[in-house]
Every structure is written in C-alpha cells, then in structure tokens.
C-alpha cells in the first residue's frame, strides 16, 4: 500500500489548508491595486478543492485518521455544494466589500478557513473532529462579522454572536463529555454501537442529548435558541450575512446527521430527540414566520424567515427515516440556493454608501430593471413555496416525510405557517411590482455577477420544473451514506 493512501479521503481539506497558507503569505506582498490576485487565488483554491472532491468521490464510505474522518457520498455532495455556495458568495460580495474597505486578504482567508471548518464538520466521524470543524467555522464567522470594526452595529452583532455561540459550544461540549462518560467512546460509529448493544446508562444519555440538542439548536438558530439570528443577520455586513446564511447551513445539516442520526440514532433515543425537535420545529415555524411580518428591515425579515426555514428542516429530520433525512438535505440545499440569490439581490442594489437593506429599497424594481425584479419574484415565490418554483418541492418532500412518519397534524401546522410566510414574501413582490420606484440609481453589476445571479434565479425555476435530478441526488446520497 502506498504511503500516501490513508490521506486520500482528506485531500480536499489538505489542499485547501495549503492554499489558505499560500494566500495568507502571498497577500502580504500585494498592494491594494493587486488584490485581485488574492481573489483569484481564493476562487482557484475552491475550484481545486471542487475537482479533488469530485475525483475522490465514491458511493462507498471511506474512513481515515483512525476513523475520525469519513468520506461518504453525503459529504461529497455537501462539500461540492459548499464550494459552489462560497464561490458564488465571493462573486456577489466583491463590489460590496470593495466599496466598504473590506476587500482585503483577511476577508478571503477567513472565508477559506470557515470553508475548511465546514468541510471538517461535514466529514467528521468523531466528536472531536466535529467540534474542531465547528469551532474553526464559528471563530472565522465571529471575526468576519466584526470585520467592519468601525461600525457599532457590526461590533454589537459580533459580540452577541460570539457570546451566544460560545455558550452553545459549551453546551455541546458538556453534552459530548456526558456521552463520553456514558459510553466511554468519542467515535460516532462506536458510540452508536455501544448504545445499540445497551452498554450505556439511559439517564446520562438523555441528559447528554438535551445539551446536544440545545447546542445544535443554537447553531442552526431554531427557537428557543434563535435570539442571535436577527441581530447578527442585521448587524453583519451584508456579504457576511450572505455567507452565514448559506454554506454553513449545509455543514449544520451534516452536523445534525452525524451527531443525532448516526451517533444517537438508536431506537430508544430517536423517540427522545424527536420530541425535542417537534417542539423546536413548531416554535421555529410559528415565531419565525409570524415575527417576520413585523420587520421593515429586509435582512431582519430574512433572518426570521431563516428561523422558519430551519423549522422545516427540523421537520424533515424528526421524521426519523431515510426519506425524511433526504428531504431535509434537499430542503437545506434548496434553502441555500434561494438564500444566495436573495442576499445577492440585496448586494446588487447596494452601492457605495448605501445599503439596500430595507424593504422600501426594493420599491418599483420592476420599472428600474424588469429582469432583476423577475429573478427576485422567482426567489420570493420559491421561499414562500409556491409552485412551479423549487421551494415548493422542498416543502413537499419534507411534508411527505412528516406525514409518512404519522404526524399529519405537524404537516397541517407547517402548511398553515407557510401561509403566514407567504404574506411577507408577497409583500416584497408587491413593493417591486405594484409600487413606483423611490430610488432611480442605475443597477449595473459586473458581468460575472450579472450572469451568476441570473443563473441563480433561473435555477430556482428550472429545478422547480425539473426537480428530479437534485432530489434524487439528495435521497441517494443519504441512502448510501447512512
């Protein structure tokens, strides 16, 4: 066996880490005029990781580092989507961060470190690797929120994010330590085995579970652990909000899969976390959708809408079967796609010294630019889950899983709150289409931005007309990975 083989599953991570170090050094020698080199290198690093992940992908799970790191199809798919999400976010953000003095090496290095954190989270099969990835991601995100250091809102948001995030990490760690106490292992597969064969004390396990679910709740921003979401979404520079709201959700999904489903998926425990998730899901749907109505700031509104969407994600997971997990994965992928587009539109309308973050700023967009208004219309209807956009199928698959698991009432609650949700998405459509424009500044993004956001918006429609490829990919990758 060649010497290098055991590292093979981790090649993308290794490559990205090397590239981050290279970029960190190269950037030191660049003047502001040549910052484009950093940008290009960052995109190159993501493209390289993409190629490596694609080439090493296989349906068969492969573990390495003594079983601490796993490369299965679910992780490959999620990682590929992560790279695409991050690369898209960089394209969208470029003009925005340049106008706000954030177009510096730090931004790109932090983005890549966060990406690396997500990749580790996605591939972790050991509580320590999970935690390592999570902290790498979280710490990068905290500093990204605070990157605009002269802005009091951003600083406040970063502080809140950090304190609450640290608290959540503490809870997770506490839960993990209890798991270790109960089972004597930190490996996820061994954890599952020990619990399955009855080698663990149930009381301790349930306690551990409570802490872990609370920690997860914090990380994805589900009610009642959602307090940080609106403030961070609102306070962070929009480019960073876009980042927080997109790719990390994929990692969070993987995190939940690894920890709750793979690690704590034994029958006696599923019943326990199902109950907790039901409460969290219903509350998230209710509070997220209802509170979003009262917002006038678009970023805050989207923050609450995110909470509602996370409620839907939890619905998919709590149904406790493979279709449900597949539905959850499909939901989160679709959510990331829509979120990228929506925040991309905010970035599109923002310019130097002006943040298009209020609902009012979208007034009369149809008269300013019918094409972008149409894209935003698609995104909004997709968020609301109206066919023929992909958001409908995301909700459909989740509802199917929930009803299949026997929770018809949950499905009814979910659709009722998505009706409430439809109201505030429609409000944005109304502003764009029914009202006269207040702002007449021309919208002239760069070519790459223009193409990408058009593709992004059309993808919402295209996957709505032909959802099968994406849906089948999600269901299949969950099937062969769990």
């Amino acid at each position: 066996m060649p010497y290098i083989t055991p590292l093979l599953p981790a090649y993308p991570e290794v490559f990205l880490l090397v590239m981050v170090c290279v970029i960190l050094v190269v950037d030191l020698f660049l003047s502001d005029d040549h910052r484009i080199v950093t940008y290009a290198l960052t995109q190159l690093a993501l493209a390289g990781a993409l190629v490596l992940t694609y080439v090493t992908a296989s349906a068969e799970p492969v573990t390495t580092f003594s079983g601490m790191f796993v490369d299965d199809l679910m992780s490959d798919v999620l990682k590929l989507l992560t790279y695409i999400g991050v690369a898209t976010m960089l394209v969208y953000s470029r003009a925005y961060i340049a106008a706000r003095g954030l177009y510096r090496g730090e931004f790109f290095v932090l983005v890549l470190f966060a990406t690396l954190g997500m990749m580790v989270m996605i591939s972790a099969s050991h509580l320590l690797t999970l935690y390592l990835g999570l902290e790498l991601l979280s710490l990068s995100l905290y500093s990204m929120v605070a990157l605009q250091r002269d802005s009091p809102v951003a600083t406040e948001a970063a502080m809140k994010y950090f304190v609450l995030g640290a608290l959540a990490s503490g809870m997770l760690l506490y839960g993990m330590s209890m798991l270790y106490g109960a089972t004597g292992t930190l490996g996820i597969a061994q954890l599952a085995d020990t619990i399955f064969y009855g080698g663990a004390r149930d009381v301790v396990l349930v306690f551990a579970l409570v802490f872990i679910v609370a920690g997860l709740g914090f990380k994805i921003g589900a009610v009642p652990f959602h307090m940080w979401v609106p403030d961070v979404y609102h306070g962070a520079p929009t480019a960073v909000t876009l980042f927080i709201g997109s790719a990390p959700k994929l990692a969070a999904f993987a995190f939940i899969m690894r920890l709750l489903v793979q690690g704590l998926g034994a029958e006696q425990l599923v019943g326990e976390w199902q109950q907790m998730l039901i409460v969290m899901a219903v509350l998230s749907l209710a509070i997220g959708n209802v509170t979003a109505i009262a917002q006038t700031n678009l970023k805050r509104m989207l923050a609450y809408s995110t909470i509602g969407h996370m409620g839907y994600l939890l619905l998919g997971i709590l149904s406790g079967n493979l279709t449900g997990y597949g539905a959850g994965m499909f939901y989160v992928v679709v959510y990331v796609l829509m979120n990228l587009g929506t925040f991309g539109m905010i970035l599109l309308l923002s310019r130097s010294g002006f943040e298009a973050e209020n609902l009012e700023d979208f007034k009369g967009l149809n008269q300013r630019s019918p094409w972008y208004a149409f894209l935003m219309l698609l995104l909004m209807f997709s968020m609301a889950g109206v066919p023929p956009t992909v958001g409908f199928y995301a909700k459909l698959t989740v509802l199917q899983a929930v009803i299949n698991a026997g929770y018809v009432w949950l499905a009814v609650v979910a659709v009722l709150f998505s009706l409430v949700g439809a109201f505030y998405y429609l409000r944005l459509v109304r502003l764009m289409y029914f009202d006269a424009p207040a702002d007449t500044a021309p919208i002239a993004p760069r070519g790459d931005f223009r193409i990408l956001i058009s593709l992004n918006g059309l993808a919402v429609l295209l996957f709505g007309i032909l959802p099968e490829p994406l849906l089948a990919l999600c269901l299949y990758s969950i099937q062969v990975s769990l």
């Binding site: 109206v386 066919p387 009803i403 018809v408 009706l419 439809a422 109304r430 849906l471």
Partner: protein
C-alpha cells in the same frame, strides 16, 4: 421532440413559449411587436385545441390524447396528461378566451404591455395544464401556478385598491389549497406511493379519512369556485382587476374549482361526497338565492357581475352534487356558458370604463342614444345572464333545475328563484345604464364600438347564441364522461 408530439402538450406549452417570447422581445417602446407575438401565440394556442374537439371519440370511455412521461421518479410523480369531454370543453373555452383577452387589451393597456400579455399567455398554458393533468401532483402544481400571474395582473394593472385585492386573492386561494396538498400526500402514503389520479379512483378508503380528505379538497375548490361563505375575495378581485383579468378570472379560473370537484373530489372520495352532499347543496342554494339578492343592491357594475358569478356558480355546485346526469351535464354546460356570458359582461363594462373611467351605475344613463350597437350586444348578454331561452344561459340552468327536481323538489324551487333575481339585477342594471335620457355630457360624447371591440363582443355573442339554440355540439362530448363519472361515484369505496 422533447415532449413528443401531443396536442395537449402543444395546448399547454405553446402559450407559455409565446409568453416567454413576448417577455424577451417586448418592451414598452416596441409594444406593437409584443401585441402581435401575443396574438399569434393565442391564436395558435387556440388552433391546436380545435383538433382535440374534432378528433375526440365521443363514445369512448376513459381519457383520450394521453401522454405519459416520468417526471419526479423519486416520488413516482409522472407528467401524465389526458382529457375527457369535460376537460375538452374547458380547454377550448380557455384557449378561446385567451385570444379575446389579448385582442381586448390591444390599445387599452399601455404600460408594461409585454408583461401584461405574457402573464395571460402563461396563465392560459397553465390552466390548460390543470384541465389535462392526470397526476395529482401535476394538477396541484398547475393549479397553484395560476396564482402568480393573476397576482401580478391584479396588482400591476388593477384599480386603486388593487394591492388589497391582489393579496386577498392570493392568500385566500393559497389558504384553501395548502390543506389539499396535505390530503394529496396522505393519499400518496395510503396508496403505496402513487400520485396518479387513476390509482386514487380505485383506492378503497374508510369513511372517516374520506371525510377529512373531502373537507381538505373542498376548502381549495370552494374558495376557487367561490362558494358562499368563502366568496368574499371575488368581488374585490373582480372590481380591482383590469378588464382582461376579470374576464379570465370569471370565465376560467372559477371553473378550476368546479373542475376540481368533478375530477378530484367526487371520484376519489365518493362516499364522503354523498355524505356531505346536503351540506354542499345548502351552501350552493344560499349562494344562488342570497348572493342573487346581494347582487341586486350593487352600485358598481363590476361588483354586480361578480356577485352574479357567485350566484351562477352556485348552480354549478348544485348540479354537481345532486348526482344525476341532468344535473352534472347541466353544471358543465353552465360552466361553459357562464364563461362566455360573464366574460362578455366584463368586456362590456370594460368598453364603458375605457371611455368614462367609471364603473358606477349612477354615472351612466341613456347610453343607447350614443352607442346603439353596443347597447344591442349588451342586451343580448344581459338576457343570457338572466337565462333567457335561446341563449346559452338557459340551457345549463334548465338542465340543473330539471336534475334538481328529480333529487328534491325544494332544491329546484329554491334554485329557480334565480331566474327571477337574475333577471331583476341584470335587467335593472341594464335599464339604468343604457336606457333613459342621456344622463350627463360625458355619456353624450360617447363613441360607439370600434372594430376591435365589435369583433370581441361579436364572437362572444355568436358563441352565446350558438350554444343557446344548438347545444348539441357541446353536450354530445359530455354524455359518456358524465355517465362514467356517475357510475363511478355510485359505487362505494368502503371496502
């Protein structure tokens, strides 16, 4: 060819493709091009539906012109199309109305012309989809997809209170249909993973779930029809929508609900339909009588016609739920006839509105002195709306009343009051608007119909009269599917 050469595919996708073309090529500077492309699309869309009628086998049972392709294999959802006589007539009506709407908006719409026309073309294609879908999820997707263009139509080109009306329209309909989705997923699970309507028709179900499913379906379809007491969105939507929007709403969109009852509710949950028929009939009769009285006191012409639509659609639901051939056939004929008549009446109001910019009855009077041709055509449609023999309005109402007599004399007696109320509110409005002395100088300055308006109203007059004196071409395609449906509904699924 990607979708295979199937007339139903063409009927759905030609309007949509032309809608895209209109959006891409058209701008307000080049509105004429957009209008021409839209007209070609609409006419072509209508033309491809004609062979459906001529090629339709009147004696065969089951669905014809079927097309089947896998769509979402993970959930066993198929792109399955097919029509029977009921859907055939509705598809013809829809494609025909689209042509009229495009012509009717020719000079009237000056702002964002391409978006206006594209919305109607999308709507037309999507509604053809609803009428030809044989897969429950496909049906639902098409059913819901009608909301987006209509929301835009009402909200962008509507009257002063259009935002309220557009939201009310959208949220009301969405609220109704979301529970239908839950019911469909439930059916998917109990039928071992199928979304096919044909599988659902054969699926045995106990009464309790049947009733739950019936109620979920009914919420969606009753809002769409609309039945009393969930009709309140309709007057708002109609009054605020531009003329074309009102026409499509009244002529086609309301039929989606009734079609849903016929295609989905009745055959899938027949026992629940029988159990709850009394309830639906009661609501229908309230709509016929009470809403007829409400229409009497309206001061706004569009609102009056909107209420008249609710009242006439009450006839349709009544006819469906008395479960006999006369009732059901009458209901379907009434749907088609109401499509022509209400569309024509809204166009008539549109003609007046374009000239005087008022819909209030009180602002008119003596229009016959300045617009004699218009007055004559309006007279025909008003008479048809009151159910005068010789017009299409008579045929459907007569059949439904005949069916109702068989079911229960008092149903028929209550329903027949509409012949009085309908005549009262329509003709009274007509009298106040058209006859009498010229009410004000603006009426005195009115110009009669131009060629375009005459063409649109003339075509509709022709349709109304043809259907009135010679209903057989319409009725003959209905006999087989109606009998098939009634036989199916008569068999209990409680096994």
């Amino acid at each position: 060819m990607l979708l295979g050469f199937n007339l139903l595919n063409l009927a759905i996708w030609i309007p949509i493709a032309f809608g895209v073309a209109v959006l891409v090529t058209g701008s307000d500077r080049n509105a004429r091009l957009a209008r021409v492309i839209a007209l070609i699309g609409a006419v072509l869309g209508f033309a491809v539906t004609l062979p459906l009628y001529t090629g339709y086998d009147r004696l065969a049972t089951g669905f014809q012109f079927t097309y089947f392709a896998p769509w979402i294999e993970s959930f066993n959802v198929n792109y399955h199309l097919g029509i029977d006589g009921i859907s055939l007539l509705l598809i013809l009506l829809n494609s025909f109305t689209t042509v009229l709407v495009v012509i009717a908006g020719w000079e009237v719409i000056k702002e964002r012309v391409s978006q206006y026309l594209a919305s109607f073309l999308f709507l037309s294609g999507v509604m053809n989809g609803v009428f030809s879908a044989l897969d429950a999820l496909l049906f639902y997707v098409f059913f819901e997809a009608t909301l987006i263009p209509m929301f835009i139509i009402i909200g962008v080109w509507g009257g002063p209170n259009r935002v309220y009306a557009a939201f009310k329209f959208f949220l009301y309909t969405l609220a109704g249909s979301l529970l239908t989705l839950v019911a469909l997923i439930y059916l998917y699970n109990v039928s071992d993973g199928s979304f096919s309507l044909l599988d659902y028709y054969r699926l045995p179900l106990p009464l309790a779930p049947q009733i739950m499913i019936f109620i979920a379906f009914m919420l969606a379809f009753a809002v769409k029809v609309p039945m009393w007491p969930v009709h309140t969105w309709l007057p708002d939507a109609h009054v605020e929508a531009p003329t074309g929007g009102s026409v499509v709403l009244a002529a086609i969109m309301l039929k989606l609900g009734a079609y849903g009852f016929i295609r989905i509710s009745l055959p899938i949950v027949p026992d629940a339909s029988h159990t709850l028929a009394g309830f639906v009939i009661a609501l229908s009769l309230i709509a016929v009588v009470y809403i007829g009285l409400v229409a009497l006191v309206q001061a706004d012409m569009k609102k009056l016609i909107a209420y008249s639509s609710v009242s006439h659609m009450g006839f349709v639901t009544l006819g469906i739920f008395i479960f006999n051939a006369h009732g059901l056939e009458g209901a379907i004929i009434q749907m088609i006839s109401h499509g022509f008549i209400s569309g024509a009446l809204f166009l008539c109001v549109g003609v007046l509105y374009d000239r005087i910019h008022s819909r209030q009855i009180a602002d008119y009077g003596g229009v016959v002195n300045t617009m004699p041709v218009f007055a004559a055509l309006f007279m025909l449609f008003a008479m048809a709306n009151s159910g005068l023999p010789g017009t299409s309005g008579f045929v459907g109402e007569f059949l439904v009343i005949m069916g109702a007599v068989k079911a229960n004399f008092w149903y028929a007696a209550a329903a027949a009051t509409t012949l009085v109320f309908g005549a009262a509110y329509t003709l009274w409005m007509y009298k106040r608007v058209i006859f009498g002395a010229v009410a004000n100088p603006r009426v005195g300055a009115l110009a009669d119909l131009n060629a375009r308006e005459f063409l649109v109203l003339g075509l509709l007059a022709l349709a109304v009269l043809t259907m009135g004196v010679w209903p057989n071409p319409f009725a003959e395609v209905l006999h087989t599917p109606v009998n098939e449906l009634l036989n199916h509904v008569a068999q209990s699924k409680l096994r």
